[in-house]
């Protein structure tokens, strides 16, 4: 069967726009001689639609759009992700995450999703009921076994511990499927594509069935979908691979033998570099921002974010603001200007010193005889935040925050100061990874000035301040954080690896104590398997002590 893989980028809730895109790709599929055009999970409404699903008028609009697609279908099949309803038993939500197959002007077959993920960033049980059963569907000489995303992630042969007691794909195989199709919306994190490849390779090899796994692409606020649709033959060999980080369209002929593809995931730097650019580009594109603003400190974080903004918006549409104070080193402005030259972007330099001094003058009488402390440091960061937001308000810039994951983790950031902004571009990238990305960006010549990469990191909020006065070396900090946050290791295990129990304890405490800051942080582009934000939920007020 000739399957047109329609790897599209949708806008959540834009049912009209998504429907039109689906119909446009359907037309393309017909032109390309396909038997069946396949679209990603919930492609009609975008994924994840969250509480929009709870709105009747939203679901009614989806139903109407689904029916319109059905009416427009011809003898070429169109299989897309949509929401269906069945309230017959008056129990539960009656709402289903479904794959709908249309041809000859009608809805011919609907398969509801069976495995409803409800962990990390997934809250699908909130909305969707589990399919009562799964069915195969005969179409153009094949017996299609259609599943939806999570449905294919519970193979008993592949997973030691399983989340669910059902295996809908095995059921489809048992029911005589000759061709497997999975429509998917699986958020990106580095390494995920390899896991997916391995799992699907085992499945297709064991079942001896070809598979078209159709992904979506594009960023939805904090979640990035990386595309990379995968088509396997019945020997576990990857036959076709969708483009990553962009829309794609191609026809996979399950009867044909292709040369096996063996490279499906690139290096951390290559992948995350693309992922972050897409994340930024789609946030702006889908909300209507045309230009970006970054506060350039002379440090590596803001340099990296500025570079990413240039890749996402173009150098004509990125503006940076230099906001030195008396504690800013001479190098900060000089290094920033070098970056500005390298990138060819517009800039302003406005000192915060006069406003800081005026604010101190006003507030010092209230401070009494209390010595300077973090207050004055935060004031500087907050004046910078005010400057940046003023420019953002005046000119309609998308303000990018520049905090990295290491800082966000331990609270080394000023709420309403450097945390101001619409999107935390590198909030899921550790400081050590920031350096890796900077070196990657410079692989063909200096873009981010070497001075910025080599100087010791500093917030420059007090004389001679260095990050390492307060924090452990980033190599150690990031290792602890990664073990704690991503690997879910606990104090005993982390101490065994790191050695210094007091340090581990101190870092874990810092992470736990800073939930209140992260609660008020901008959305973080997710590139790891555990990002700050929606997928990580800890109480702000709590007394857990190890």
């Amino acid at each position: 069967m000739k399957i047109a893989v329609c790897q599209i980028n949708t806008i959540i809730g834009d049912i009209e726009g998504n429907k039109n895109k689906i119909l446009e790709y359907y037309e393309k599929s017909i032109q390309a001689g396909a038997d069946l055009a396949v679209f990603p999970e919930l492609s009609l409404c975008g994924y994840p639609p969250l509480d929009l699903v709870e709105k009747n008028e939203f679901r009614e609009a989806i139903t109407a759009a689904s029916e319109e697609i059905a009416r427009k279908s011809k003898d070429v099949g169109i299989l897309f992700g949509t929401i269906t309803e069945d309230y017959e038993d008056n129990i539960g939500t009656g709402i289903y995450n479904s794959a709908m197959l249309c041809y000859d002007g009608e809805i011919q077959f609907v398969q509801q999703k069976t495995l409803i993920p409800n962990y990390d960033v997934f809250d699908e049980v909130r909305y969707f009921e589990s399919a009562k059963d799964v069915y195969v569907h005969k179409f153009k000489g094949e017996t299609l076994g259609i599943s939806i995303c999570e449905d294919i992630w519970n193979d008993a042969d592949y997973w030691k511990d399983r989340l669910y007691d059902k295996d809908p794909v095995q059921t489809l195989i048992d029911k005589g499927a000759t061709l497997l199709i999975n429509i998917s919306a699986s958020p990106y994190s580095y390494g995920r594509r390899t896991i997916r490849y391995n799992m699907l390779s085992v499945l297709t090899k064991d079942s001896k069935l070809p598979l078209a796994y159709v992904s979506c692409v594009g960023a939805q606020t904090d979640l990035i979908f990386d595309g990379g649709s995968l088509c396997f033959n019945g020997s576990g060999e990857l036959q076709m691979l969708g483009k990553t980080y962009e829309e794609d369209f191609f026809v996979f002929d399950s009867a044909k033998e292709y040369e096996e593809i063996k490279e499906y995931e690139k290096s951390f730097e290559e992948e995350v570099h693309e992922a972050l650019i897409l994340g930024l580009k789609d946030y702006a594109g889908k909300t209507g921002f045309k230009r970006a603003l970054v506060g350039l400190s002379g440090g590596i974080d803001s340099a990296l974010v500025t570079y990413l903004a240039v890749k996402a918006f173009g150098s004509d549409n990125v503006h940076v603001l230099l906001m030195p104070s008396e504690y800013s080193s001479e190098g900060s402005v000089k290094d920033s200007k070098k970056l500005i030259d390298n990138l060819g972007i517009s800039w302003n330099n406005v000192s915060i010193q006069p406003v800081f001094e005026k604010a101190l003058e006003m507030l010092t009488p209230l401070f009494g005889n209390r010595p300077p402390d973090v207050t004055e440091e935060n004031m500087q960061a907050r004046i910078r935040g005010m400057y940046l937001m003023s420019l953002s308000n005046k000119f309609g810039y998308l303000l990018c925050t520049t905090g990295n994951k290491s800082e966000m983790a331990v609270g080394y950031a000023t709420l309403y100061g450097d945390m101001c902004g619409a999107l935390a571009v590198i909030g899921d990238v550790y400081k050590t990874q920031v350096y890796k990305l900077a070196k990657f960006i410079n692989r063909n010549g200096e873009i981010i000035p070497n001075e910025i990469i080599t100087k010791p990191p500093s917030a420059e909020l007090r004389p001679e301040q260095k990050d390492q006065d307060t924090l452990p070396p980033y190599e150690i900090l990031d290792e602890i954080l990664k073990l704690y946050l991503e690997e879910s290791k606990e104090i005993k295990e982390i101490t065994e690896i790191i050695g210094d129990k007091d340090l581990v304890y101190k870092v874990l405490r810092m992470v736990d104590m800073n939930e209140f800051k992260r609660k008020q942080a901008a959305p973080v582009l997710r590139v790891s398997k555990k990002a700050f934000g929606y997928g990580r939920r800890f109480p702000i007020v709590q007394g857990w002590r190890r």
Copy 2:
């Protein structure tokens, strides 16, 4: 049976502290001659523990504490909420939200929770599996039917549409229970106690069984638990009612007849007044803040929040900051001073004008020839935010934000400006309700100056500005918002009630467009059935249009 109702206030994660409190109340129960001491749902770890549940070391500490309680149990039973584990089948989380009954030094009985709520503020499917079955337990001549919170919310006779296909309490009745016990942690919203009463009255009348429904009390960040444990006889009559908004301990003798209690929920003003004070008090008490700070504008919102802070912290521990600008009316400072006198609190008056002018001087060259707009208004709000945060940093004050629900809904608030703060005290209270609360507070004499209540609301960020220049009258706005947010009505229905379709559309659009602000807002104390925050999840980037 003599049941000691132990309506306690726990700290999430403070297993040691919670365990000690449970043992202390158990001792009290023994002294009071009880047969059985009963504690709320998950009382050992506090509710909701969120992702702490995913930590092995956290669950190990809970298991150890549960076993310690068991070892210390005597012939009087102790029934408390805890987490238990069973990974036998290697499928799912293997973690259960359980009621544990101990006596004679041992764990005698464990009932897992059957109905796992996963809507609004509840994400329990993320953590907990559903009980495989429910069992009764014979103890001291009674056959106990023990259930956990949601388990009792699925009565087929009471609910037309049911969320679940099981009714564990009916199963307990069918298995011969002679006495029903429900351990609960049900977040407060106005009207909830009446629904609970009605449902439990029907249940006990129909089943002819007495019931002890044991609630927790206390605020956990944004969620408030109101106490008010309910004990019914087998005729649907309320026999005993726990105190509201504070801990309580009393013994309910299920064999005794008490006088029927008919008043179980007070007026909106009385209830919400107490709820908000508890919310503020517990946020501070559980995080260690001793003093509060409020930015006093002369408007009714900040006046109300200041009053609530005085009730929560005492007048000696509340400081207010007046921060007039050139647009502040004379009345603002005068009215604020009157409130300060009435409350007997400390204050400072620091103009933002010099800092605002200095900031304008620095930024005006960057603004080019663009006319003044919302930028300059936001700058003023952000300088105030910076002032407030500086005092908070310097003196360790808990900064209370003063935005109400109407403003939060339509985005009539400045991010990093008046939205600065640790807790949005009245973020779930509509403007019209703010007035109601103010009048209630003044019922025995003026506390909030009448001038503040009667003047037209204004942000005072430009000359002669009034809220109603930009927003519809609050009576209409709030009605639209309530229909949309709480009643989940949609544009057609709301228009039928309000009449003006364009206005309804405009308001709903404003709500939808301001997710990005609310994403970065302080936690909101929840007093309605749909508050901004955790229980309401909409995509920031989305294209849904009606």
